[in-house]
Subunit: 156 residues, 2 copies
DNA sequence: TATTGTTATACTCTATAACTATA
DNA sequence: TATAGTTATAGAGTATAACAATA
């Protein structure tokens, strides 16, 4: 996504977007690789991440992951088959099924997210501490301004 | 990926990685959504992006996209069926097949990447120009330091 | 009737293995 | 023999539509 035909007047602007896009894909790819090392796809990783501090119903899970309920059925099937999550029939509403992380699932997601955080820290290690702090401030500013649009909060 | 159990001494560090990870997924999701609006998956978008300034063989395409050659066969099949790319038998090596963007494919990828760049620019519009410039400088610094690890250069 | 979840079906995406054609 | 590409097959991931059980 290079700024091939940018008029000179907007070149700085486009280079910023271009650089940020590249950095985003570098970081996204880093998680993808770390998860893949443990046999997890991105969506399985997100599933486990969402379950870290929740025990949602299938329906809630579909909303959290922005997937159709039938997609979540298959996703949970495969995770359950691997022993990473369990289905629990709800007693409050006997139609509902709650999904919970197993110990194996929890230790897996903790491991992947720990390595990923270390990767990102390593990527930022080339910056001087003051620059890292400046970057942190700018990124926070952007995120706050777009709090509503983040959609899926990866490990929310 | 919040820093749930970070010791206080490293909390600032983790918050930076956390923020950058969130921003990365925001931007990645932005492209995914824009591509999806035009009926393109991420991999189809990357295929078209790679073909913007190249006419590689299937084999070269597999290396560029980091996919098995059989995966590329299917990928190109589906893109060709939609009229986005064409296969051209190489005259130099009659085993080889070159893949080229059609006019429809080119106009599609130009449209998606243009909208995406506008999206990223809009995301950054909340920053003062001087802050945007500072962000640009920091991001460039990180990218330069990790030039070799970027793996697939999305629209390279 | 409405909601929750599963199942049947179809398509994309991916890899491995076996194959054809060319070098 | 080695390389370029396709095809057969299998599995993950996704959505739509039809279904069963419960509310």
């Amino acid at each position: 996504m290079t700024a091939r035909s940018a008029p000179a007047s907007t070149r700085t602007e486009l280079n910023t977007t271009d650089g940020l896009a590249q950095l985003s894909f570098l970081i996204h790819g880093t998680l993808e690789r770390r998860a893949g090392e443990r046999g997890l796809s991105m969506i399985q990783t997100r599933l486990l991440g969402v379950l870290r501090d929740r025990t949602p119903s299938m329906n809630e899970l579909a909303k959290l992951l922005v997937l159709d309920k039938s997609s979540v059925s298959g996703l949970v099937d495969r995770a359950e088959r691997r022993g990473l999550v369990t289905r629990i029939r709800s007693t409050a509403d006997r139609r509902a099924v709650l999904v919970s992380l197993t110990d194996a699932g929890r230790s897996l997601v903790v491991s992947v997210s720990g390595r990923f955080e270390a990767d990102v820290a390593a990527i930022l290690a080339c910056l001087r501490p003051s620059d890292r702090q400046a970057l942190s401030r700018l990124v926070s500013q952007v995120l706050v301004a777009h709090a509503g649009e983040q959609g899926v909060d990866l490990f929310g």
